[in-house]
């Protein structure tokens, strides 16, 4: 459905309830809705039009419209459209009607908004705290403008209750936040009877740094560096999403050469990340030889990053308006050399691991994420694509020069560790091919169109396909080139609940393997 058709359909159905239509940045349709009918309109969009809820956030707009605003973001992935329902929440009536019962994906967003803004989702099935743990005092909401960023609140002592599974022989296994491996912190509460897991509740947000609040009021230059540090191994994807949003607001066209360079770095980051994940899957099945093969290839990918820009995590490569430096001058032969070497080794290694029946036995039918659950929770990235959700931002919302390059999105339907592994293997080859295409077709020319100033109170989305999946940033600018509100939704936020479903019915020793096959970022989730 095109933007105009969509507008007329909505106008016909909800003529008197929608007060304002605004089209922004060519594919973002904002509709303003009175709060009593938000529930009806959102359920219509979700159920009748079939648009998934891909993000939801609130903003303190008391200075602008004298109320809080809640944004529900729906996506038409076929047409590449975003439909944003905006509803006002007055300071004297801080509540919205919960959508969680009809849109399961809304669950976490509503709890997040409740913690950060104090907007109460009425009728929410599980209104437990999400962002803050038991140490946080009641009645303090950091994303309200009057909250002082630097204040340190007292620690309170309360008890957190976990979902209780009762029955004969049922017991709980608490794991974390400090884990046995070298990974990020998170607490997992397994309810187990015998070996199989009946339920898993993940308590995350241990590495919550108040990142969204930290950005508010800061210059767009400084926030770029914070955006790079949202999640270490997704540096480039996050910085690119940030840059895209700023570029849209400033109305800047990024030079072609910079766009091609961005494709190369995005794909290099994906390749590095996937090689690490594949190594991790092999490690958790006790397959030492293959682990070290993948770690060797990952090492080569890091060496390539060093050769290209001197930064292993591709930091300070991007810049709003283009890239910092012309990194690709004279680097073609070395890039191709490394890519050929990695490709050859990857082919060999994949042949070896796939002919190993004991390994395949372990990964096949382990940790199945059912397509229905994946769709309900809006599971994205390789985790979603292994369960039949064939969405990829590079295809549905093409950015940089992805519309000019040829590539296929892997499709798998079984949703087990094996499918996620195969998805990642195929994506590694795709990334290598995309990098080769980009370097072959790269034009000469400028690399940066500097962003000198941005208009206040403009907003835009930046979307990228991070190694872990769909990555959505929303920025509203403030006065004097600053950020008024920055909402980050990384793929990990969508996939954590999906992971909790995937482990059900599996034995506890398979949890690390299933976890590794998703390889979600804690930092990207917790912000």
């Amino acid at each position: 459905m095109s933007m105009l058709e969509l507008k007329s359909v909505l106008a016909k159905k909800f003529a008197e309830c929608i007060s304002n239509y605004t089209l922004k940045n060519s594919n973002e349709l904002y509709i303003e809705v009175d709060s009593p009918v938000t529930y009806n309109i959102c359920s219509y969009i979700y159920q009748e039009l079939g648009y998934p809820l891909i993000s939801m956030f609130a903003a303190d707009e008391k200075q602008l419209i004298n109320s809080y605003a809640v944004y529900y973001v729906f996506a038409d992935r076929q047409e590449g459209l975003l439909l944003i329902v905006k509803t006002m929440v007055k300071a004297n009536k801080m509540e919205i009607t919960s959508l969680s019962k009809i849109i399961p994906a809304a669950d976490l967003y509503e709890r997040e908004i409740k913690d950060l803004f104090g907007i109460n989702p009425l009728g929410h099935p599980n209104p437990k705290r999400l962002v803050f743990h038991s140490n946080w005092p009641d009645g303090k909401y950091p994303l309200r403008k009057e909250f002082n960023l630097k204040q340190k609140l007292d620690f309170v002592q309360e008890k957190i209750s976990f979902q209780k599974v009762e029955g004969k022989g049922v017991y709980e296994i608490p794991v974390g936040p400090v884990h046995a491996g070298i990974i990020e912190p998170g607490h997992f509460r397994f309810s187990v009877a015998g070996e199989p897991i009946i339920n898993l509740e993940a308590q995350l947000f241990y590495v919550n740094k108040g990142l969204e609040k930290l950005c508010e009021g800061q210059s767009i230059e400084k926030c770029f560096y914070i955006a790079e540090r949202i999640s270490g191994d997704e540096t480039f994807a996050n910085s690119l999403a940030y840059c895209q949003a700023i570029e849209k607001i400033a109305g800047i066209t990024v030079p072609q050469r910079a766009q091609y360079t961005r494709v190369i770095f995005t794909e290099l980051e994906r390749l590095t990340s996937h090689l690490g994940d594949l190594g991790g899957i092999c490690l958790d099945t006790g397959y030492g030889f293959a682990t070290f093969q993948f770690r060797m290839m990952r090492g080569w990918a890091y060496n390539l990053a060093d050769e290209l820009c001197g930064m292993r995590f591709l930091r300070s490569v991007n810049k709003p308006g283009g890239i910092r430096k012309d990194f690709m001058v004279g680097k073609k032969s070395i890039l191709l050399k490394y890519l050929q070497k990695i490709k050859k080794e990857l082919e060999d290694t994949v042949d070896i691991i796939k002919s190993h029946s004991m390994f395949i036995d372990r990964v096949e039918n382990t940790g199945i994420l059912k397509p229905k659950i994946a769709a309900d929770l809006n599971a994205v990235g390789p985790g979603g694509r292994a369960s039949g959700q064939c969405n990829d931002v590079r295809k549905s919302f093409p950015y940089a020069v992805y519309d000019k390059l040829e590539f296929e999105i892997p499709k798998h339907y079984n949703g087990d560790v094996n499918c996620r592994m195969n998805t990642k293997i195929e994506e590694c080859f795709t990334s290598i091919s995309l990098m080769i295409q980009a370097i072959e077709n790269m034009p000469e020319g400028k690399i940066l169109e500097p962003v000198t100033r941005v208009e206040p109170y403009r907003f835009a989305f930046g979307m990228t396909e991070a190694p872990r999946g769909e990555n959505i940033h929303w920025i509203m600018t403030g006065e004097h080139n600053s950020i008024y509100r920055y909402k980050i939704r990384t793929p990990s936020f969508c996939n954590w609940p999906a992971l909790c479903h995937a482990v059900k019915g599996n034995i506890v020793p398979d949890f690390p393997l299933i976890n590794k096959s998703f390889n979600l970022s804690y930092a990207g989730n917790d912000l």
Partner: protein, 261 residues
Amino acid sequence: MFDIIKKIVKYPRLTNNYPDKALDSSLFIGSPEIDTDKCKLCGECVRRCPSGAIKINTVSNSITIDYAQCVFCVLCEEVCRSGAAKMTNKFELATKNKVILQKSPWVIDENNIPYESQALDDLLQSKIKKTLGRSLHIREVDAGSCNGCDYEINGLNNPFNDLERLGISFVASPRHADMLLVTGTATRNMQLALLKTYAATPDPKLVVAVGACACSGGIFRDSYATNNGIDSLVPVDVYIPGCPPRPQAILYGILKALDKV
């Protein structure tokens, strides 16, 4: 099986000999430095530094970079009009005293910096080294990083660095550890977990802060949910600056804690 043997023969040894043999760091982007002769103290880099690491002392008319806070983002080099700020390829920056990091690049003489209980500290150090002998067991704690530092610590286990060749290994529990390798700002939600992990590590123990966040809070300083570095909660033996520090920079810091470099 034949394929596996073929690969083992093809790649017999990838491990580099660091620290015995210096690393070719010509490609690296390391710490920034300011050339005092060229610097006109215009203050542009001070205003724009995203982590607030560069400071001008108006009394002595000098400019310093606090490496504990620096995120190595190259912006100072970019905005410097007189060409005084330059990125170097130095990556071995770990020190035992934060003051050294803060006064960089002028005060480099480690031995002349007086700090409290130096004698006691020396005594303790020699005792620790005696106790630990040649092997060291490390527990890594992520107390609120962006996961960059954690991936670099993971990198110490890859075939290129292979930490175990030096008798150093990672263990699964703090109760088995001699050293805590802490990354991140020590967030509000991780504060208790970090303290408990520290308490669970048997004495004598060493604590190493990895990355700008752990050294000083880095770019995430002064937020309601973070602390400005882990030394506000636990005593730190060695600070490793970087955002994130390279695996070899971390290795250098670990060896520094053992006085092996």
